[in-house]
Structure formats: C-alpha cells, structure tokens
C-alpha cells in the first residue's frame, strides 16, 4: 500500500515538475541502463509513426503534395497526377507543442507558400538530399541509435544520413552542413542534443516549411516505456520565425525480430530525374 502511495505521489510530482507530457504515468518508467551503467539505454531501431513529414502543422487531407486550381477547388498538379491516391496527403493533428501554426516572419511565410506551390521542384527530399534535423527523425523509414559507454551515433536509413552526437562540446561548427553538428548531454534520463551549423537548405517537411542557416535545434529523447521514446525538438531561428517553437512526438521501437536497417541509397533512384536530359540518347 505504501509503495503504491509513494509511486502515485512520485508520479504526480513528476507530472507537475517535468516538461514531459504525462503520457505514461501510472508508474514512472525507468529504462534499463545502457553500457555506462548510469544512463538509460537508447540502443535500438526506432521510427516515428505520424504525418509529420507531410506537414508539421494540423492539416486536413489534401489531394496531392503539389496542387493546382481545379474547376471546383484544388486538384493534383500535372507532375504528380499519375500517383492518384498514393500521392495524396494524409491528414494529421499536427506535432506542434501547444498546437497552432508555425510562427513565421511575414517574408518567411511567403517563402513557405512558394515552396509548397512548387513542391516537386524545390523539396530537397525529392532529389534525395539529406533531410537535416529534425526532419531525419520523422522520415518514414527507421533509424538506429548506437550508444556505447561514452559515445552516441545515429544512422538513418533514409539516404544513409548520419549524425555523430558529440558528448563533449567540440566548440562551434567548423563548417555548415546538411545534418549539422550535434552536441549531446544527459539531463537525468533525457538525452539532450543541441544541433547547429546548418546551411539552411534542408526543409522541415513536405509542406514547404523551411529554416535558415541560423537554425538551432534542441532535441530531447526520453524513454517512456520499453517500446517508445518521447521526442521533442525546440526550433530556434530568428531569421525565419518570430519566436522559438517546439514539436513533439513518440518514437516507437521497431519490434520485429529481424529488424535491421537496410539500404536506401536514393541517389541512384533520382539519376533519371536529375541527369536524364544529358544522356547520349535521352529517353522518350
């Protein structure tokens, strides 16, 4: 009885004090320890199961990733028409913490709309460019966290993107990149990762949401059960947004006994798209 009371009080306190949403709080979960014996074990293959990569904001289903004006409202643009329902955008309640829209500066919002209107030509995902952070986390393919005694590394199946999470601060990034420079630390059982050094060409999703090179992403990975993590990413970019904002979502452990990252080296798949017109004998 006493143990039950203690756990209820502990749980209530945790709900009041922690920033972690009370998604699992009958008993606060304590994950098995990782290789250092101190911090939770994040080793495993994980994947988001939501519509974030389609659109971070709350959105209704749409006919296509790129639309044109039809006689009675938007219809798929010509360049995606043949995809039919496979190319439609599923609805989502959105992943923005507290709901609402992304707080764009006015000119940045215009750029988002232009991005969305010309999605096929402009979304770097279409060309198999690396997804950046946080988009890599919620691509529709799994990723694997490698956690050693002192080191953490994340490999994403999509385009084989990778992130070395430096657990000692190496100083400012020496060069800008697609995946940025990630610096990690533990706060209790939460892995906090600060990522900077982006060149600003990656998008946040297929809806044209974008950032600049000033982007700073602060992620929080917290084990909630043997089967899922709670993931948050705080997004700061004074060039693009009027204030910082945060996304959050569960990340689920892939439970299949034979699960492993497979190859998705998509540069091969976009060669015709990017270089077809330069062939000696262009195809019809």
């Amino acid at each position: 009885m006493r143990r039950f009371l203690v756990s209820i009080i502990t749980c209530a306190a945790a709900v009041l004090l922690s920033s972690v949403a009370p998604l699992v709080c009958a008993e606060e979960y304590r994950a098995p320890r990782g290789p250092d014996g101190i911090h939770p074990d994040l080793n495993g293959i994980w994947q988001a199961l939501n519509e974030a990569n389609y659109d971070l904001e709350l959105h209704m289903a749409r006919s296509a990733l790129q639309e044109r004006a039809g006689p009675h409202g938007p219809i798929p643009a010509k360049n995606v028409l043949a995809m039919g329902a496979v190319g439609a955008v599923p609805p989502g309640m959105g992943v923005i913490k507290g709901g609402g829209k992304i707080p764009y500066r006015p000119e940045a919002l215009e750029k988002k709309k232009a991005n969305q209107a010309n999605w096929a030509e402009l979304d770097p995902e279409v060309k198999c460019y690396m997804p950046g952070v946080p988009r890599a986390t919620y691509m529709p393919q799994p990723f694997q966290i490698f956690q050693g005694s002192d080191d953490i590394f994340i490999a994403y199946q999509w385009a084989g993107a990778v992130r070395d999470i430096y657990m000692e601060d190496p100083g400012p990034p020496q060069v800008d990149s697609w995946m940025g420079q990630s610096v990690g630390r533990w706060e209790g059982d939460t892995l906090v990762v600060e990522a900077t050094g982006f060149h600003g060409q990656a998008w946040l999703d297929r809806a044209g949401n974008h950032t600049s090179w000033k982007l700073k992403v602060t992620e929080r990975y917290t084990p909630m059960s043997p089967y899922h993590l709670h993931y948050e990413a705080a997004i700061e970019d004074p060039e693009t947004f009027t204030e910082p904002w945060t996304i959050e979502m569960p990340l689920y452990r892939r439970m299949e006994p034979n699960i492993q990252l497979m190859d998705f080296k998509c540069p091969e798949f976009v060669e015709e798209l990017l270089y077809g017109e330069f062939r000696r004998n262009p195809l019809d």
């Binding site: 050693g148 430096y166 990149s177 497979m262 190859d263």
Partner: protein
C-alpha cells in the same frame, strides 16, 4: 579512381607537413587510461572485450601491393621507411608553397605536368591526404599492406576476371578533348549516369574506402567506430556510409543485397571478427562480384594501436584468396559530412561535356564530308 603507390620515393603527394600523427603519445595515454578507469568504463559494454570506439585516420604511404623489387620481403628496413617519410615531407613542403601570383594561366588542355595545371580537373596537394609514413606493426615497417599471397601482390585473375578487367580498361582512355568513343561499337563511357563509376555517381566512395575490405585511398581516410553491446558501427567518411555489424547474428537471406555487404561479427578472444557477404553486383572492391566474401579482424597491438586485417575471396575473379593488414592510428580529428550527391555538379558537367565533344566531332566530320547529310553516326 584507385590510386596505387608503387614506390617509396615519396613521389606521390600527401597532405602538407604539420598534421603529424603521434602514436607514442596515444599509446601512452591508452596505457594510463586503462590503469585508471573502472572495469565498466574501459571494457566494452558486453563485458571484458576491448572497446574499439574512436576516430581513426587510416591514411598511409604504404602501397596495397608490394613493389615487385621486394619479392617476398614483407619487412621494410627502418632506413628505407624513414627516408621515404622524409622525402614525402620534403615533397609536400615543396608542393605546398604559395603559387606565384603573377603567373599566367596554363595553356588550353593543360601543360602536361603532373600538377594541377597538367590537365583538366587535377587536384593540387591541398586536397590530397594519403599518408606521411609507412605502416608499422609491432615495431616493423611493411613493404605492402598485402601479406597473402607471399609476394604481397594480388593473385592471378580467373579467365573471366581477366576478360572483365580488359573490357573495363578499354573504357578508359586519356582525355584528349575528342569524343573517341563514337568509334566504339556499343556503349561509351559517358552515355549516361549509369556508365560512370559508383563514386562519380556518389553511391560509394572510391578506392574501396568503405569496402569491405576498407582500404586507404587518396583522401578522406577517416573511420569512426561506435561499439555497443550488440553492434559495431563503422562510419566510412566517404560517402558518410555507416557499416552496421550485427554481433553474434546470422547473415540476411540471400535476397538481401547491400552496397557494403551484410556484416556479422563475433569475438575470438580480444579480436573482433567480421564476416561479410550479400554484396550487390558492384561491390566497392574493384572487379569483385556479388559472390565476394570478406573476413576482417580488428585487434589491438601491444602498443594499443588498432590493427585492421582482411581476407578476400571471390572465386569469380581471383584464383586464390588474398589479404593483408595495416594499422588504424587513433585521430583527434572529427569526421566532417561528405555530402557527395548533394553537391554532385560533376555528374552534370561530365555528361554535358561529353555531349559537347560528341557534337563537335560530328560537326567536324560533317564539315569534312562534301556531301554532308544529317551528320555521321546519329546514335
């Protein structure tokens, strides 16, 4: 673009002097660290195993294949090794001097030298990072990375392998500024992206840098290892490829093919053994086929240096297995992002350039022929 170093004269370029490796200091630190740390922190997470987590710079002057004049001699004398290192350092210092700001442009087509002005698209020494010293294992310098066969050179190829090698050689000729391939009966080397090498296409790094076997190459020789209880992840700098070795596991079914093969690992004492199969039809190792089978071993030498060894079998290509070893010195460097595909302007340039040369050649032929039709070959 496999660049083989066939001599020890230091004629091949390397990065400028200044980035010295410090094996002595690293070894000392390793000894001190092991004396000070707790069993959990030093042993790998699986128990008493070594932990190979770290960053390594695998560049070396030592060639893959032994120069023929050494015959069966595996060990290189310190005098020759140290002289080669000095020569390399001097050569690099010379090649790294500031250029003359008053110099004019090289002539069209290049000046024929081996430097950046020699031909279109050459690297100068700033870009090259292929080792400052010969490899040294247990105190002894080596004449080659290969140890098997006994002459340190790849064994003979099968007739099939020889045919494929000859066909591949026919595809590569010096860039003369003319579309010589228009005379070929069949595909040319610039017909489309699939005609190019896997590294031109940004699908794999050149020189079998990712392999397996993982071999030293012209630059970007860094490897980053993160070891967990159930996996060993090896990041190959080119092209940001994460090799994932599943410990104490089974190979994927034969339908699963991987660019870097399917790797499983286990411990034999303090040696990590990695077995790789299930390659695609074009493994990173030049000339290999989907039946390639590679066994790698990772161990620490007495001084703490990571020693990487490999054994290669592909009965479609080589008449015997072959293999070798070389050290992976620890590095303080961090691996930068190698965003090859995202910046692959070269592919467009290569193909467009070929189209221009073809048009030039066809126009020239049309110009020469008095009864000019719609132009020569028309394919």
């Amino acid at each position: 673009m496999q660049v083989e170093q066939e001599t020890y004269t230091g004629a091949m370029t390397s990065r400028p002097a200044g980035g010295a490796s410090r094996p002595g200091a690293v070894a000392l630190l390793a000894v001190l660290a092991s004396a000070l740390c707790s069993p959990l922190a030093c042993a790998d997470a699986a128990g008493d195993r070594p932990d190979f987590t770290g960053t390594y710079d695998t560049a070396t002057m030592t060639p893959l294949q032994r120069p023929k004049e050494y015959g069966d001699q595996l060990i290189l004398t310190p005098e020759v090794a140290e002289a080669a290192a000095r020569q390399r350092a001097a050569y690099m210092a010379e090649r790294s001097r500031d250029s003359d700001p008053e110099r004019g442009a090289p002539p069209a087509g290049g000046d024929g030298s081996t430097g950046a002005s020699g031909n279109v698209g050459g690297y100068n020494t700033f870009w090259i990072d292929n080792g400052e010293t010969a490899i040294r294992i247990d105190g002894e310098y080596r004449t080659s990375i290969l140890t098997t066969p006994g002459n340190g050179r790849r064994p003979a190829m099968t007739p099939d392998g020889q045919k494929r090698a000859a066909a591949r050689r026919a595809f590569y000729r010096e860039n003369t500024g003319e579309a010589w391939w228009l005379e070929l009966d069949g595909p040319g080397p610039y017909d489309g992206p699939e005609s190019r090498t896997l590294s031109d296409r940004c699908l794999l790094g050149f020189g079998s840098t990712g392999g397996p076997p993982m071999l030293p190459t012209l630059y970007n020789n860094h490897k980053r290892i993160v070891q967990t209880p159930d996996h060993v992840m090896i990041l190959v700098e080119m092209v940001h490829d994460a090799r994932v070795i599943r410990m104490n596991s089974e190979h994927a079914p034969p339908e699963v093919r991987r660019w870097l093969g399917d790797s499983i690992g286990w411990w034999e004492g303090d040696t990590l053994v990695v077995d790789t199969t299930n390659f695609t039809d074009r493994p990173a190792l030049s000339m290999a086929t989907r039946d390639l089978h590679v066994v790698e071993r990772f161990r620490r030498a007495a001084d703490g240096t990571l020693i990487y060894s490999f054994f290669v079998e592909d009965p479609n290509v080589w008449t015997e297995p072959w293999g070798g070893e070389y050290p992976w010195p620890a590095s303080d460097d961090r691996v930068y992002e190698y965003a090859c595909h995202e910046g692959n302007y070269a592919m467009e340039g290569i193909l467009k350039g070929a189209r221009i040369l073809e048009a030039d050649k066809l126009a020239a032929e049309a110009g020469d022929a008095p009864d000019v039709g719609a132009g020569g070959s028309g394919n």
